[in-house]
């Protein structure tokens, strides 16, 4: 006799001999409060389970896709790039990039989803996908929000058939697939059977997907909490919007086969789709190129850069200069290194941007007394000041020869990534400069780098505490304990009067555990302090853009690490409060004395100033 448990608890953790299934619907933590696993942990589990391919399909974005693709490579897993796109009626379709053209369309569609709707409610009309579906594989969506399942639930079978037919006409039979899911939710079986019937009627392909929201079952609690936080409610208040069980994890392959035993073709077809998506690899086929510098049509970049620098060298290091010979040697050395790394165009575009900053500074300062103060528009800082090319192009105001600055940190033969040139500007100049860059290169070619604020223990305690409906005053007491302490929130509670006996109660115990689990996961999209990406090819075909919280600011969906991985050239326009203060001081001095001081004539070697700095007598 076999106990009935055998019917329910299927075997797990075993790898099938040859992978029978690829996961084409998977959310990571970059679905922002709708996925409880970071991409690398999903991949580690997929590798353990023997998955051959997995598609990352986060909500309205590809925020984690490049990191996902790079992390998948050494594991031998095919990373498929995709997204779950929210339509105007709130339903959802899954878009997978089959080809480079499909990826470009995916980026354009995601950009339209964000820029064409309210910032916090991204939406896309179905007609937009119809207009740009080339190279995309489109899946009908999840049980709860998918375009077809939702229609089936609200309008019935006949309306679903009609809509599926419409999708077939719009996208073609080879590009539109009916998705079925078995997450052991009551009604799944009936829904999937109805969808299979619709697909059979219309001769559409059927795909089994897992609608994965976390990589291991035990993370379902964290996902429940995230859903409550996202809807600004409690766990008790989110009963209808949470998933009803813990079955939205990355399943062992034999379990998937067993769940879809009545429709094996739906499982096998996932491998065929993954095979088709091999035509696009995000780590290989991005096709980013830096924009041309002004005058690129007249001379090749290395020639133009050398010419410009040599002309400036004669001004900065005239024949009588003691540093001239050294400067000439250093310039030739740098130009060789720059040519070796094919960075001539990069320096020239920086030069163009600094010229643009000069124009902006003139406009911003016009009418004020500091306009005649010979103030630079901004300043280079960090390792770039050791470069004579930067000095000659005006990107730095420090003479690297006279100051004996070491070049190797900025530029060397083994340089792995593009050198970082940080430019500081007074606040008002930076604000205007950013807008002017959009105008110069075109809105579709420019975007600010984004960042992903992550949960820290304190914010985690506050938000999870609210989801657990714990008293606000008590949450605040515990949140303060959590500040800066990486481990042992429960232990810390021992020292808080009245809390020692609570840490083992279900609610407080859950709080302690979940606060540690959520720590480090991205919470939302924010803006990098000053990084901008400029692209020759429209940036919206390389990475989706969306509105930042700050008005008129557009950010791309990748943070600085992904932008580095993509070999994008990030230009840092940083606001430096001290430069704004200097501008203000010059204005005040000019008002009092009638003329602004000429800052370019300040002697950096003034012993009296050095003595004051040595004495710590600085602001």
């Amino acid at each position: 006799m076999v106990h009935a448990t055998a019917l329910i608890d299927r075997p797990s953790g075993r790898q099938a001999a040859s992978p029978p299934y690829a996961e084409l619907h998977c959310h990571s933590a970059f679905s922002f409060l709708d996925g409880a696993s970071p991409p690398d942990e999903i991949l580690a589990e997929a590798h353990r389970l023997g998955y051959p391919a997995i598609a990352l399909t986060d909500r309205n974005g590809i925020y984690g896709s490049l990191a996902f693709a790079h992390a998948a490579q050494p594991l031998g897993i095919q990373a498929i790039t995709g997204a779950a796109v929210t339509l105007t009626d709130g339903s959802q379709l899954i878009l997978l990039a089959e080809t480079p053209q499909g990826y470009a369309n995916l980026c354009r569609l995601l950009t339209e989803t964000h820029l064409g709707a309210d910032r916090l409610e991204p939406r896309l009309p179905l007609s937009a996908i119809e207009a740009r579906h080339e190279g995309l594989i489109i899946l009908s969506g999840s049980r709860r929000d998918g375009l077809l399942p939702r229609t089936l639930e609200t309008e019935g079978l006949s309306a679903t058939r009609k809509l599926a037919e419409q999708c077939r006409e719009m996208f073609g039979r080879d590009h539109f697939f009916v998705e079925i899911q078995r997450n052991r939710v009551r009604g799944d079986l009936a829904t999937s059977r109805a969808l299979i019937d619709v697909a059979a009627d219309l001769q559409l392909g059927v795909l089994a997907t897992g609608n994965v929201h976390y990589h291991t079952r035990d993370l379902h609690r964290l996902h429940d909490v995230m859903v409550a936080i996202r809807h600004r409610t409690t766990l008790d208040g989110s009963h209808r919007i949470r998933n009803p069980n813990s079955e939205f994890y990355l399943r062992p392959l034999d379990e998937v086969v067993s769940l879809f035993a009545d429709c094996p073709d739906a499982v096998a077809s996932t491998l065929a789709i993954a095979g088709r998506c091999k035509a696009f690899d995000l780590t290989r086929d991005l096709g980013y190129t830096f924009p041309d510098f002004r005058g690129a049509d007249r001379a090749p970049a290395p020639h133009a850069l050398a010419e410009l620098c040599r002309a400036r060298l004669d001004e900065r290091y005239p024949e009588e200069s003691a540093y001239r010979a050294q400067a000439i040697r250093r310039l030739e050395e740098e130009l060789k290194l720059i040519e070796l790394h094919k960075l001539s165009g990069f320096f020239l575009v920086y030069h163009d941007l600094f010229d643009l900053a000069r124009e902006v500074a003139i406009d911003v300062r016009r009418g004020s007394r500091r306009a005649s103060g010979n103030l630079l528009p901004g300043r280079g800082r960090g390792s770039s000041v050791s470069s004579i090319v930067c000095y000659l192009l005006g990107l730095s105001h420090i003479d690297p020869i006279a100051n004996k600055l070491f070049l190797g940190r900025f530029l060397n033969e083994t340089l792995a990534s593009v050198p970082d040139i940080d430019l500081d500007f007074p606040r008002e100049i930076r604000e205007e400069l950013i807008l002017r860059v959009y105008t110069r290169y075109g809105a579709e070619h420019v975007g600010l780098v984004c960042s992903f604020p992550t949960y820290r223990l304190r914010s985690a305690v506050r938000e999870i505490g609210k989801a657990l409906d714990l008293p606000l005053g008590e949450i605040e007491l515990v949140a303060k304990l959590a500040d800066g302490r990486a481990e042992g929130l429960a232990d810390e509670m021992d020292h808080l009067p009245g809390f020692a006996d609570r840490k083992n109660s279900p609610l407080w115990k859950s709080l302690c555990e979940l606060a540690h689990e959520i720590r480090g996961l991205p919470r939302h999209v924010s803006q990098h302090p000053g990084g901008m990406i400029i692209s020759s090819r429209p940036l919206i075909e390389l990475v989706p853009l969306e509105r930042a919280a700050m008005e008129d600011r557009i950010v791309c969906q990748w943070d600085k690490d992904s932008c580095d991985d993509a070999r994008f050239i990030k230009i840092d326009f940083l606001a430096l409060g001290m430069l704004s203060l200097v501008e203000e001081c010059v204005e005040l001095i000019a008002r009092r004395t009638g003329a602004p001081p000429d800052l370019s004539r300040i002697d950096f070697e003034d012993p009296a100033i050095n003595d004051r700095i040595c004495a710590g007598d600085t602001i």
């Binding site: 009935a4 329910i8 608890d9 009551r186 799944d188 009936a190 009803p244 079955e247 609610l507």
Partner: protein
């Protein structure tokens, strides 16, 4: 007989509807499956498993984790049985 609709509500008259009843569920190597009462009486032989689903909820209070089966019994009766995954016990409810 239906109670008077204007009768005052009394909490002592509230009762649970469709309260789960403890049962035993056994599957034989032949593939046959039966549902029985704890005292040994048979509820019925299972003709077909119509659907199975799972519920995980209330983990922050008193965890509920159940695996449900909707069964068609011999003779045409439909029942829902579930196993409490925390204790292993089986219960039966009307669908």
């Amino acid at each position: 007989m239906v109670a008077h609709s204007r009768a005052p509500l009394r909490t002592d008259r509230l009762r649970a509807v469709n309260e789960p009843q403890p049962v035993t569920v056994e599957v034989y190597e032949s593939g046959d499956m039966t549902v029985g009462w704890p005292d040994g009486r048979t509820v019925g032989k299972v003709e077909a498993i119509l659907e199975s689903w799972r519920l995980d909820d209330e983990w922050w209070r008193e965890s509920i984790s159940r695996s449900y089966l909707e069964l068609l019994l011999e003779g045409g009766k439909r029942v829902v049985v579930f196993q409490n995954l925390l204790t292993g016990q089986w219960f039966m409810q009307q669908p």
